[in-house]
């Protein structure tokens, strides 16, 4: 009996030893003496058929340095939230760190302040496309850390606006046949909603993400689209979080107007994690929704290969820029997100990787076809006008929005504050008074950033 136990225990230990040595061997970088670029990205299915995979592979094959370098694909299969956890774990140690990583610009500030990413200032200074204005200035801002340095090369982005159903808006008398809708203030939106409510049946006038369950989409796509439209931001220029202001109240008042007047969807539809899919795949394509505040990727749902095909979506629907609150300059507003290529601090092939990034971002190599396939908006000014890109329905217009696009704060406390925003928005749409919602928001933000870092305007 004792013998068996000893054997069992020994077997367990030796097993783990064996595999331990195996594992550390495989993680050692270069076989055949060449340096290796390990590339990590979020896997959205289909293995080597998928876009980010194909892009890098084709890019590697057409790269003139390919004979000097190995490429190692290391995709991460997970939902978006879990991707960030794994990335943070891997970046923190040289043994597990990749050399090239896809970073959400929203996550970038965190990884920058953790010291996980390489400061690219000295690299971009000799990257002609970067200094010659081949990238949208707003996108360059999105990858610039709080210290003013560049930490990534943006490769895709997205913008948000008001999608509308032409037939519904025409029937309601908001626009005439064949006319585009171009609201110039929040009041225009509310007027349109009132007309839809009065003149159509069984149509929800307006939809925007409004709950905690829709997460960042509620903070960024609803609240910040409104707040930024008043000219205010979440933080003051000297880095203090604003916890009470007239602009905040005006933004919440707009949401209150939407829901109190019955312009919004019923709350059971919008206060759950599937709300975006419900509006984009069901209510909007089925002519049961007039206007929806959503991002450009929504069109992916309506393509013939998408989950909710709409044959004539290019003409059936319209896209209007989100107006500022009273039509003040710049007239319209959008928030942009997007992804960037970054080089981890722990990478052991930084120069080569940066050269590889430049090759990947070359529109004449593989960038153009990849960005089209991704269904995302390009980050380069010289790709926007290319016919092949611009002929995709709505893309020319949505790319145009980038000129006035703004971004979420480059602050590593933002993701916690964002949760507080979601609570605030949800409490207002469920009937809490604006005063109470704002005061709770103030308490939440103070708990996160400290009393000394907040301000009331």
């Amino acid at each position: 009996m004792k013998k068996l136990l000893v054997i069992l225990t020994l077997a367990l230990i030796s097993c783990s030893m064996l595999f331990a040595s195996g594992a550390s061997e495989s993680s050692s970088k270069s076989d055949n003496g060449k340096p290796t670029i390990t590339y990590t990205f979020r896997d959205d299915g289909r293995g080597s058929d998928q876009i980010l995979w194909k892009w890098i592979e084709e890019g590697y094959n057409s790269w003139d340095k390919k004979d000097q370098v190995n490429l190692d694909m290391a995709p991460i299969t997970a939902s978006e939230g879990d991707y960030f956890t794994k990335i943070a774990l891997q970046l923190s140690d040289p043994a597990t760190s990749p050399d090239l990583v896809c970073e959400d610009t929203f996550q970038l500030p965190n990884d920058v302040s953790a010291g996980y990413l390489t400061n690219l200032d000295s690299y971009v200074s000799s990257y002609a496309d970067w200094t010659d204005g081949k990238y949208y200035a707003s996108m360059q801002k999105a990858v610039t850390g709080a210290d003013g340095s560049v930490y990534g090369i943006p490769y895709c982005t997205d913008t948000r606006g008001l999608w509308y159903n032409r037939a519904i808006l025409t029937e309601a008398g908001v626009i005439k046949q064949g006319e585009d809708w171009a609201p110039t203030s929040w009041d225009d939106i509310l007027d349109a909603c009132a007309k839809i409510q009065a003149n159509t049946t069984d149509v929800i006038p307006f939809w925007c993400n409004s709950g905690v369950a829709t997460g960042e989409a509620t903070s960024m796509q609803t609240y910040e689209m409104l707040l930024y439209g008043t000219g205010e931001r979440l933080l003051t220029d000297d880095g203090k979080w604003i916890i009470d202001s007239d602009s905040m109240r005006a933004s919440l008042k707009f949401l209150q107007d939407i829901y109190n007047n019955g312009y919004g969807p019923s709350l059971d539809l919008v206060l759950n994690g599937q709300a975006s899919n419900t509006s984009a795949r069901k209510y909007f394509p089925e002519d049961k929704l007039g206007i929806t505040l959503d991002g450009i990727w929504i069109t992916g749902n309506w393509k013939s290969t998408g989950p909710s095909p709409v044959a004539d979506y290019a003409t059936k629907f319209g896209l209007a820029a989100m107006p500022t609150s009273k039509g003040q300059t710049p007239g319209t507003v959008t928030l942009a997100g997007g992804w960037a290529f970054s080089i981890p601090e722990n990478s052991d092939a930084k120069e080569l990787t940066f050269e590889f990034i430049q090759h990947l971002m070359d529109p004449e190599a593989s960038y153009l076809s990849s960005i089209i396939e991704q269904g995302n908006i390009c980050t380069r000014t010289d790709v926007g006008p290319i016919e092949e890109y611009a002929k995709q329905p709505f893309f020319e217009q949505a790319t145009e929005f980038l000129k006035t696009a703004d971004f979420r704060p480059q602050n590593d406390k933002y993701s916690t504050v964002s949760t507080a925003i979601q609570y605030m928005v949800e409490s207002v749409v469920t009937g809490t008074s604006i005063d109470n919602a704002i005061s709770q928001y103030g308490k939440d933000v103070i708990r996160t950033v400290g009393k000394e870092n907040v301000v009331t305007l």
Binding site: S16, A20, A78, K282, G300, S308
Partner: protein, 273 residues
């Protein structure tokens, strides 16, 4: 007559409960047969087996099912063996530390995976067993032990001690007694522990996800997430097909064990009666 109507009522009640448990699956089944599946309950306009074909024609998925099977089968076997051994002293001897031991290992399992995973990752990094399937098996085994020990001890308590004593008189040592007398008698319990452990690791996403990184080592539970796209979009059709295939092994295991379980019943009955 009365006896019979009671029996019929029981059949009806069971049928109703079973039906209620199947209803939530309707969406899953419909979605798996729909080319344009969505989260809403829809009759498919285009019926298709394409989703299943897609899932099964991918070498990566097949490999994932295989890897998952290896991990889960080995882990469940390890757990059954180790807990079988551990349950014996806990069930048969008066150990002074028994209750403290049993309850303290158990309450530690209340800590959700997401709280412990970072220390685990750091530990695996230090001892160089990241990205090792053995490491995952060892970790999954260790974390299933508290439940396993409880289950096994409980089932072993149900095995009458008399038969064991008879074996002892005939000169069997503890290992022989465990193997020849106790194990057959508590076979249903061993099945429960095995199925429970198997399903637990078969469905565990977070542990292999964090501890493995090579593509060819990922089990099916991780590959499931390939159907979750950008901006919260989900490919419901393939996801549903994948899930249905995914559920098959555990259900087969259960049906298989049911057959043996009824044998176990008889034996246990005989010993007590």
């Amino acid at each position: 007559m009365k006896e019979r109507s009671i029996k019929n009522t029981q059949y009806i009640i069971l049928a109703i409960i079973a039906l209620m448990f199947v209803l939530p699956l309707i969406w899953l089944i419909l979605a798996s047969l729909d080319t344009n599946a969505s989260q809403a309950l829809n009759m498919p306009t285009n019926w298709t087996l394409g989703n299943f074909k897609d899932v099964l024609s991918s070498n990566r998925n097949l490999r994932g099912f295989g890897v998952g099977m290896v991990i889960s089968l080995i882990q469940a076997t390890v757990v059954v063996l180790i807990t079988g051994l551990a349950a014996y002293p806990l069930s048969r001897y008066k150990l002074s530390y028994k209750n403290v031991f049993m309850y303290s290992i158990l309450f530690m399992t209340a800590l959700p995976m997401i709280a412990v995973i970072v220390p685990v990752y750091k530990m695996f990094l230090t001892i160089h067993i990241l990205d090792s399937i053995t490491g995952v098996i060892l970790y999954l085994s260790a974390t299933s032990l508290p439940y396993g020990i409880w289950l096994m001890k409980n089932f072993m308590d149900g095995v009458p001690i008399e038969l064991e004593e008879a074996a002892k008189i005939e000169g069997a040592n503890i290992m022989q007694t465990l193997k020849m007398v106790i194990a057959p008698l508590m076979f249903p319990g061993i099945c429960v522990t095995f199925i429970f452990t198997f399903s637990g690791s078969w469905g565990n996403f977070f542990v292999p996800y964090i501890l493995l990184s090579s593509q060819n080592k990922l089990p099916a539970s991780v590959l499931l997430y390939q159907y979750f796209g950008q901006h919260g979009t989900i490919s419901y059709g393939p996801l549903a097909a994948f899930s249905i295939i995914y559920a098959v092994p555990s259900i087969l295991l259960y049906i298989l064990s049911q057959r043996y379980m009824s044998k176990g019943f008889n034996l246990a009955g005989a010993s007590k009666g």
